[in-house]
Amino acid sequence: MFGTVAMLAACAQAPATTDDTNSAAASDFLPCMVSDAGGFDDKSFNQLGFEGLTEASEALGVDPITVESTSETDYQSNVQNLVDQGCSLIVTVGFNLAAATVESALANPEVNFAIIDNDADLDFDGAVDAPNIKPIIFDTAPAAFLAGYAAAGYSKTGVVGTYGGMQFPTVTIFMDGFADGVAYYNEQNGTDVKSLGWDVASQTGSFTGGFAAGVESLANAQGLIDQNADVLLPVGGPIFLSAIEAIKSSGKDIAMVGVDADLYETDATNKSLFLTSILKGIKVSVSDVVSGAGEDSFDATPYVGTLDNDGVGIASFHDFESKVPSTLGDELDAIKAGIIDGSITVESPSSPKQ
């Protein structure tokens, strides 16, 4: 059976031989990307960055080179090999690659670099360490603050909970904002909604110890559900999948807050569970930086995603529109405006230093 199919499949006509030169864009711009040890299929910043790069490259008509790292000793070699391949822009993903990026940027001033989720400031002097690195960073705390406020407003049991993958600043910034948002809701409305799983003052909380869906994540979600939480915020790539499993097996009416992308759209099979999502515009910003560099307008000033420039934000309530208090949307708009004009300050120890 298979053999027959294979035979038939191999019977197609040979194409004409003159389609070799489809790279007629005549551009010598070559965008490249190095993943961290998570790989490009991590359903998180590697993947979103990769999608942004692909999108921009298609628009520019160039073929990007992308390489995956498998361990932290790979970073330097991978960046070096991309320089050797003649890349004009090298996008590196994550704080793990900061040292390799800075070293390579200083050694190769003619190559441009961009680094996602890191400020490339290894000596902590408040400035980027090399003139040809553009940091792409996000002030996620205000967006998570809005989600925390919304979760507190929605919760019927008066308990909401969060947990993270690993205790990285890019993870805990979500948890800081979320817990502060719940506290702000209590302050404004005189309620006593409890936020479990993260203590902002001591910076301690629940973590699964990795960025993979599995029993650790399931146990964390189950623990929060057992403590009566009815809104969950799992922060860290695919760990939310296990939280969905825990919600479904509990049989209770529990909502979830997504991170990075609008999970209502990217995970449509479970869309009825998502109260909202905390958005982090990695894909758009990487795409912008790559297109900008492709049009010869690379500049190394850091890109900081904020509520103001829509680099971060929260998704709409979608199916939950009818289930949340009718005034909640307006209150969130007011808070968002307050954060943007500075009358409400949301700060996290993990916020990008500007």
């Binding site: 191999a10 006509q13 040979a14 361990s71 391949q85 993990s350």
Partner: protein
């Protein structure tokens, strides 16, 4: 093959005469000896076959090949050319990334890949020696990850937090790392000797203990975390504690490579020239006979695991003081603790064999980057090739059957050799 066995009765009678209770551990020891003690020829052929299977995988995953396979019957040469392009491109990139870059415009740049290979080989050789030493004593040390992490943590802490004069600082940092690895390995030997705990279970479990311990220390200010940062990463090592470059700043190869050459000589001397090494090998051959001969088997387990841990620890030391001196996080072991098992198997647990196997794996590592960057071949192919090598080494009869090699221990009959020659022609 069966006709090679003499029909005489004594052969099957011999195992039956031993006490039945020892059967399980006897068989385990025998299997371990078989796998770790095969011939160099099997190693060589295993690498060869793995590379051939790797080539097939490269061809299958190549887009050009998939495209041309669609119209194979209408123009078969396209497919063949695509296969050739994919495979030769990938392996030539591997070669140029690992040994000599033909496209470079001068010799000093062209030879850089070879120094990269040796840099990546350095920790693999050190950890391979540790695992191989344990093999020779009949023990399976799967705790390389934990031993490396503890050693890296100890050496790293001394290297960035303690200020000492140049030279002394490096030596103290290296010794701290070796001691850390020795303790982490020695605990296993102690548990095995005193309580009979199986070293496979204990080493695996201690991997997790070490991992979470290091992760905890990495986010505890004042321990391993860099001051002023909130990322789980250490500060850079102080320059006084870093292995100096062997051939100047142009190359990454550092003096850590000399330490593994010294370690290889040490292990060779230990195993084949020293009294302790003789006891190691005797216990590895047959612990019961060794005990009867007056060897303190429990102490041998303890010493062997401590030395094995220290050697694996040397790999961790090399990672933090040589390969990645800008600070490390909990992934610093880079899977070398497990790759070392393959290296030790491929090197047949013999010091210089491990050295050669480590250099080969270093070449795979260094060349893998170039293969990925230049040809877009997934880095996983290299991992698959390494895994296949283990598979073929662990199944010597398979490799022997593929190449019509004689089974060791059987007498070669002239008649059989004659047939083989006819087949070969």
């Amino acid at each position: 093959m069966s006709d090679a066995t003499p029909p005489a009765a004594p052969a099957p009678a011999r195992p039956a005469s031993g006490p039945a209770t020892k059967d399980g551990s006897e068989r385990w020891n025998q299997t371990l000896r078989d796998i770790t003690g095969g011939s160099a020829m099997i190693s060589l052929l295993a690498v060869l076959v793995a590379l051939v299977v790797g080539a097939i995988l490269i061809a299958f995953t190549n887009e050009g090949v998939q495209e041309t396979a669609g119209y194979f019957f209408s123009r078969p040469t396209d497919l063949l050319r695509a296969v050739w392009d994919a495979v030769s491109g990938a392996y030539s990139a591997l070669f140029q990334g690992a040994i000599y870059n033909f496209r470079a415009n001068n010799f000093l740049t062209a030879i850089r890949p070879l120094t990269e290979t040796l840099t990546f080989a350095t920790p693999l050789i050190a950890a391979g020696l540790g695992v191989g030493l344990a093999f020779r004593v009949g023990m399976f040390n799967i705790g390389g990850r934990g031993q490396m992490l503890i050693a890296a943590g100890a050496a790293g802490y001394v290297a960035f937090a303690v200020e000492l004069p140049a030279g002394i600082h490096l030596i103290v940092a290296v010794l701290a790392g070796l001691l850390g690895g020795a303790i982490w390995g020695g605990v296993v030997g102690l548990l095995k000797a005193r309580t009979g705990a199986h070293e496979v279970i204990v080493t695996i479990m201690l991997n997790f203990v070490a991992l979470y311990l290091i992760q905890f220390l990495l986010r505890t200010p004042g321990a391993l975390q860099a001051p002023g940062s909130n990322n789980p990463k250490t500060p850079p090592m102080l320059p006084t504690a870093v292995f100096p470059d062997l051939f100047g700043p142009r190359y990454n190869l550092h003096a850590g490579f000399l330490t593994v050459i010294a370690a290889t000589i040490f292990v060779w001397w230990l195993l084949s020239r020293s009294n302790l090494g003789f006891q190691f090998r005797a216990v590895g051959q047959n612990p019961n006979a060794a005990r009867v001969a007056g060897i303190n088997v429990k102490n041998v387990y303890l010493y062997a695991m401590a030395i094995s841990g220290a050697l694996v620890g040397l790999a961790g030391v090399n990672q933090v003081l040589g390969t990645l001196t800008t600070g490390f996080s909990s992934g610093i072991d880079a899977g070398i603790g497990f790759d070392a098992i393959t290296v030790a198997l491929l090197g047949r647990s013999k010091p210089w064999g491990i050295f050669a196997a480590g250099v080969l794996f270093g070449a795979f590592k260094a060349g893998g980057f170039a293969m990925q960057a230049a040809e877009g071949v997934p880095i996983d192919i290299v991992v698959v090739v390494q895994a296949l090598i283990v598979l073929f080494i662990a199944a010597p009869p398979l490799v022997r059957a593929m190449f019509h090699l004689p089974t060791p221990g059987t007498t070669k009959k002239p008649r059989i050799r004659k047939t083989n020659e006819v087949v070969a022609k």
